[in-house]
């Protein structure tokens, strides 16, 4: 990120860009791992606790918005991963250990 763009970016964005610079594979944007993991865990937690699962569902939605508005992912990456996470949850529902 150029010096001029760094001054225009908020601190959160600078930190996210730093993490991506050192930890990202700098390649594909699909799948949107942030979104997939967030929604997958939110759905599973909903199975065990409605309130905790709802909190994580809200977090997952905010992560999705951050991913698209921050231009870390295309909108289709995010939508497809949220749907994939839900389908995986449905497929594995009966294998979930009882509470």
């Amino acid at each position: 990120m150029s010096a001029e763009r760094s001054r225009e970016a908020n601190k959160g964005r600078l930190f996210n860009r730093w993490i991506l610079k050192h930890g990202s594979i700098h390649a594909i944007s699909f799948p949107a791992t942030h979104v997939a993991s967030a929604f997958a865990i939110a759905f599973f937690l909903l199975h065990y606790s409605f309130w905790i699962g709802t909190v994580f569902l809200v977090i997952a939605t905010l992560i999705s918005l951050g991913a698209v508005i921050g231009r870390y992912h295309y909108a289709l990456d995010v939508l497809m991963r949220a749907v994939t996470a839900f389908l995986v949850f449905l497929a594995s529902y009966r294998y979930l250990p009882p509470l």
């Binding site: 964005r13 930890g23 700098h26 942030h34 698209v68």
Partner: protein
């Protein structure tokens, strides 16, 4: 203590990617040998980490060990991600163009910007994107089970 399903999935995925990396040598678009060794080393790291974790089982209670395994799985979550990155050769301009067209149609106001603004909403969205990392550690289903059981 035997491996649980998440550990077997972790081991299977990482070893599968390692095998696939060497398998590209039989195709028309092989990935460089250096990248194949990186994929293999990541797989070996994941398997060794899980094996070492199981060696710790005698020193922990069953519940604590299962929560520890949950956290280990989360920590090893990045291994397949880094492995798949080694398979990337070049972007597909046609697919990129279609994705951008979809964004322009769905979110015309967002796609024209290069990122979040320097304001409280922009900061909140960036923090939301960042929250994926620490919230991962809190997602241990076995830890949740301990909480809900009291």
């Amino acid at each position: 203590m035997r491996c649980e399903l998440p550990e077997w999935i972790q081991i299977g995925c990482t070893l599968g990617f390692a095998a696939a990396s060497w398998g590209t040598g039989l195709t028309s678009r092989p990935i460089p040998v250096r990248r194949r060794w990186i994929v293999t080393a990541l797989a070996a790291f994941a398997v060794i980490a899980i094996a070492i974790a199981h060696l710790c089982a005698p020193f922990l209670s069953r519940d604590s060990f299962l929560v520890f395994l949950d956290l280990l799985t989360i920590a090893l979550f990045l291994i397949p991600y880094w492995q798949t990155g080694q398979f990337f050769l070049a972007p597909n301009p046609r697919i990129q163009s279609r994705l951008e067209d979809f964004d322009r149609w769905l979110l015309p106001g967002v796609s024209s910007h290069s990122g979040t603004e320097r304001n409280p909403i922009g900061f909140m969205l960036e923090m939301a994107y960042l929250s994926c990392y620490p919230s991962g550690a809190a997602r241990s289903p076995r830890r949740l089970r301990r909480w809900t059981e009291g």
